[in-house]
Amino acid sequence: MDDAVEDVFLKMLERSCAATGECLAIPPDICATINLSGTLEAECAVEFPSTSARRLTLALLGDADAHWDDATIADAVGEFCNMVAGGWKQRLGPPAWQANLSVPSISSCPDPIAPAAGATTLRRAYAFDDSPFLVSLTLL
């Protein structure tokens, strides 16, 4: 997962990000989720505080003077989730890498819910430019 996240930052954002633990110090405001199905049943979710989401959008699009609307920020978070999910899936090898990816589902972050019985979740907090965010991968 670390490699998949780092890959997005190094290639698309031309900066690094660092893992900081398992929790966010700031509550997230926007979440994106992608489901994997078929040869692998899993879920990839990213959670961003609003400030981090804006900085991600700025990093992806440039133009420091622009004011990105909520739809654009949601789009950016969704695309980030898409690239992390795709990169993670590719690193799993066969047959898991043939799993289908859903389109990202964007929402304001719901209250944490208990994972489904038998599910295994890996959660990792990261930060780039002092902007924290969380990635979680759940094997269903």
């Binding site: 290639k11 698309m12 992806l60 699009l61 950016a76 898409n82 795709g86 289908n100």
Partner: protein, 148 residues
């Protein structure tokens, strides 16, 4: 070079355009479409010929493979190469896109160099064969990124 970018994500359309403009290729005009259906409309309405189409795989209304099939069925811009852009290089829809006539794909995330590497061979091939016969077999994809 005149380019059509087809992607339902405005963020990705902008990222792709920026990457193109910084990848060493001279861009004179960029047209955009939000899905395959709009992409077909652009091909039908644009007077000046395009040089390259960059197309997402998964889109609402009409997806990448559907766009390619319809483009071929309607004989729209048959000489213009199409390169797919995808975060999922194992996606069966990507394989459908290649089978439907895409000349290659670029894996997301990509660097500027990878963008250039993804489109340069396609453009070079086009300059050498400006009027290629319709592809009857699966083309060799310009693979970059973590393709299996």
């Amino acid at each position: 070079m005149r380019v059509l970018i087809i992607d339902d994500s405005m963020v990705m359309r902008r990222i792709v355009e920026t990457a193109l403009r910084h990848s060493g290729v001279e861009i004179t005009e960029v047209l955009v479409a939000r899905n395959g259906s709009e992409g077909l409309a652009v091909l039908e309405q644009t007077a000046a010929p395009l040089d390259l189409i960059l197309c997402d795989v998964h889109m609402p209304v009409l997806d990448g493979p559907g766009f390619l099939l319809e483009k071929r069925n309607r004989n729209l811009a048959p000489q213009v190469p199409v390169v797919m852009i995808t975060a999922d290089t194992s996606d069966p829809h990507l394989l459908r896109s290649i089978a439907a006539g895409a000349q290659g794909y670029i894996a997301k995330p990509f660097t500027l160099e990878q963008m250039h590497a993804g489109i340069a061979p396609v453009l070079r091939s086009r300059s050498q064969h400006p009027n290629p016969a319709p592809l009857a077999t699966e083309p060799v994809p310009a693979t970059i990124g973590g393709a299996p």
